[in-house]
Symmetry: C2
Amino acid sequence: MKIRLFQFNPIVGDLVENTNRMIEAVKNAKSDGISMILFPELAVCGYPPMDLLERPSFVETSLEMNRRLALAADGISVIWGSISKNVDKPGRPLYNSLYMAENGRITTVAHKTLLPTYDVFDEFRYFEPAHEFVVKEWNGIKLGFSICEDLWYNDNEYHRYTVNPAQELKSLGADWLVNISASPFSKYKPNQRLEMLLRHCDEEQLPILYVNQVGANTEIIFDGDSMILNADGRIVERSELFTENYIDAAWNSDKKKFESVTQSKPKPFCDEERQFKALVLGLKDYIKKSGISEKVILGLSGGIDSALTATIAVEALGKENVIGVTMPSHYSSSGSVDDSVSLAEKLGITIHKLPIKSIYDSISHVLEPLFKGTAFNVAEENIQSRSRGILLMSLSNKFGYLVLNTGNKSEMAVGYCTLYGDMAGGISVLSDLYKIEVFAMSKWLNESYFKREVIPWNTITKPPSAELRPDQKDSDSLPEYEILDGILKAYIEEKATVDSILSLGYDSATVKRVVRLVDLNEYKRRQAPPGLRISSKAFGIGRRLPIVQKWTHVQLNSLILND
Amino acid sequence: MKIRLFQFNPIVGDLVENTNRMIEAVKNAKSDGISMILFPELAVCGYPPMDLLERPSFVETSLEMNRRLALAADGISVIWGSISKNVDKPGRPLYNSLYMAENGRITTVAHKTLLPTYDVFDEFRYFEPAHEFVVKEWNGIKLGFSICEDLWYNDNEYHRYTVNPAQELKSLGADWLVNISASPFSKYKPNQRLEMLLRHCDEEQLPILYVNQVGANTEIIFDGDSMILNADGRIVERSELFTENYIDAAWNSDKKKFESVTQSKPKPFCDEERQFKALVLGLKDYIKKSGISEKVILGLSGGIDSALTATIAVEALGKENVIGVTMPSHYSSSGSVDDSVSLAEKLGITIHKLPIKSIYDSISHVLEPLFKGTAFNVAEENIQSRSRGILLMSLSNKFGYLVLNTGNKSEMAVGYCTLYGDMAGGISVLSDLYKIEVFAMSKWLNESYFKREVIPWNTITKPPSAELRPDQKDSDSLPEYEILDGILKAYIEEKATVDSILSLGYDSATVKRVVRLVDLNEYKRRQAPPGLRISSKAFGIGRRLPIVQKWTHVQLNSLILND
């Protein structure tokens, strides 16, 4: 009896096409002699469908797709995730459900119990939790059904759940734990996921079938990492990360364990490679699934952020689809243009040179009557950044290229970036990577991945500069990145208080200034492009703060002390 | 025994100052001979605090503020909303609570039962629902406590609740229904709210004390509309909308009813006036509470959107704090500049004239090598719009003015607007008003509110035009606004399917095109400024859609038909 876990990459909302692709996979599985094929959580609509779930025709069409999938379960059993309607109970109008079909009809619908409603998750906005646990007999085996968070019941920092679905299923006599997931990638997620599954092997002493979505939908990236474990915790099969694929295992009913069929041997990735592959997939799927353009364009400043963004874009889309533009101003060093040209050569991409001096001068001339007598300040700096934004957007509008935003998480955090200038773009590639991580990934790419100088070493080693005024360095206005990023990581990912950040040994004035800058710059981030999420707390849909608010750690600590 | 409802306008996160202002109000009430004063839901932290609730020092400081408020309850009873910690039960870490203090200490903490998690609300993200209902005896009267949504149990389209808290409180012997709220304004909300309260009078036959937050926090506007009703449904006191104030009533224990003390007589508002006052308050609070600038700047195009925005700004901030800029291009009619100058004169505001022709020419010159041989298209249109955006942002950066965005809901819906161009700004004033509502409000202002021509009649009567190419009219690319806005309202507010919109009698191709434009332009709206919310479904934090998604009514309807 062979089981297949199909690590599926759906497009959100593409109900008919997702379903057709799943039916195709069912047919192939059947001809491969598979007895049961499993697809991830919400495979029919893709995850996360967000407020599309509020549209009645979306719901009705999803239900129609479930019926079609059931018809395909002919000589093979099929399990997949989709929505179902809550018709008989009070509460929300929908369930997040696991469907099982046999002999052309749906034989089981089991609902998700634990509904994540934190960070990027909003499941209580749409779904009613399950009111009962479902164990279903299939070929003499009792399948215990769960969906994603149901297995993570005690692993998140936000919610202490009252019930452990795996234990409930065990107590109902389950022989296997079956889990369909849409569990997003973040830096440490694959290890956390394996630990979580091994803990269940330990606690429930049952084999686990775990099938996860792969691919990216807008900002959220799914790594997949589907796996089959035996009750003793041995991994029988484990999917390659970041690709649509399947793993098969055969059930040995005498030994009560699975045996490997596909002999999957996923490549081991180091931290940098995992993040790099995630960003490549995130960008590739954004472009492919949105279908707006095959080509992307980005400004090359000679700095490391744009260099790494271009490198990721070439890996994701091919060099023929990436166009660089160098846009020197009065304050650009000749080295910046040279480094950009050198990068473009090494990547094999087209580069255009569009100097912005004349644009800057014409804008300054128009503003002269009002600016007369004022000192050069951030206004003049931003005119340069915004002139570049206009040029990139003009090329986007004229030729249909998508503009890539090249900002990193450190500058997004403290607002060291210009709205409508270097913050322009359709998708932000590095906005969840701190500057020190940008450096680390760039070095790793040269040294270990490409094993040659793709990102010019000069770009990696020179001091970072925005080059918006003479001899400017990032370190003129910001702490050194080692310090800045340490404080930011504690404040953003770990939600540390000022006091606990200080206890790490940072300078008090620096910590208070950084924390205050993060809070004050919420207004900029609200207008930022969506950014690929690869940490446990990215800016964007998973971090929701009011723009107008007077609370900061700093203000309050001092108010309370002085009070 | 006199009761005071204090319709409070807190600043989100300004815990210490909000508390100090509440304590001041408690002292004043005491010297006015008041026995009990009530403040709204989450009065200590302001609503909505969003992810500030995840910060441990924010939580601890809120609890400290509760203790301070309790100390002020000296010779007067005080009821207010604040957070409390869930220490003993599984679930979320916090409750949304009602506090009551007497004789210097907290005597009751009652939690919210029904937690709205739809539209702009995310309460399940932070709060655990109440596990019991609380009736508290006070001077021989049994107070039945509830918080906001608890009284709206069967009024929203998203969630059929299992329990009706008002009936539970009645069955526990409550003599009064006490409700503290943070219930946002939307166009029909005051009437809906009164109907809801009257239904409770009818069902529970109890007097109601209803105190609501007033003021705006980022995009959400609270109208207040606090009131005191007797069991027979008679309104004893009702607060003036859109201002911080209080209402007092005296309890006649013989007659078992409240009697008016403050003799409040709120002005009756028509639909336009209510929306106008809401926007004025929304803008005023955004500016005042963010504390970034006293002055605002906006582009005056000669069109109706910028004219109405400027008028609202003058009403909110005073004419000395509003600066207009007219920025004619090659395609601007002389009438546009004249209308802008005429508007500025009538409003008494400063206007600067900054022609963008030379900027447009310098940008075009830089792009010439790449644009050579291509036809004039949206790229050239957007260069004009973005040149204006740069000028406004430059003045903002130089002088600290906040840029007002002037876009309306119709153009935001279909993407008839330019990212980083006319979509620039710190706050969007009209983004929840359809174009026909912009016209109606402008006419009403001239005819009924100002009773003189403030917005030039020529601006109101001429055909709308973006003036980005020769002789352009909005109607060249969009359906007439009567039709467009009818379709948009059905699709966005009423979540109607294409079929049901068609049944309203609109042309099929037009409906499909409009619906598709709304779906496709999600990427633009994701980068839009926050906009003041005055409808039941505004763009922004209460409408969450994936950018990359393939589902549209149109696609699916046709796929299913062809399938």
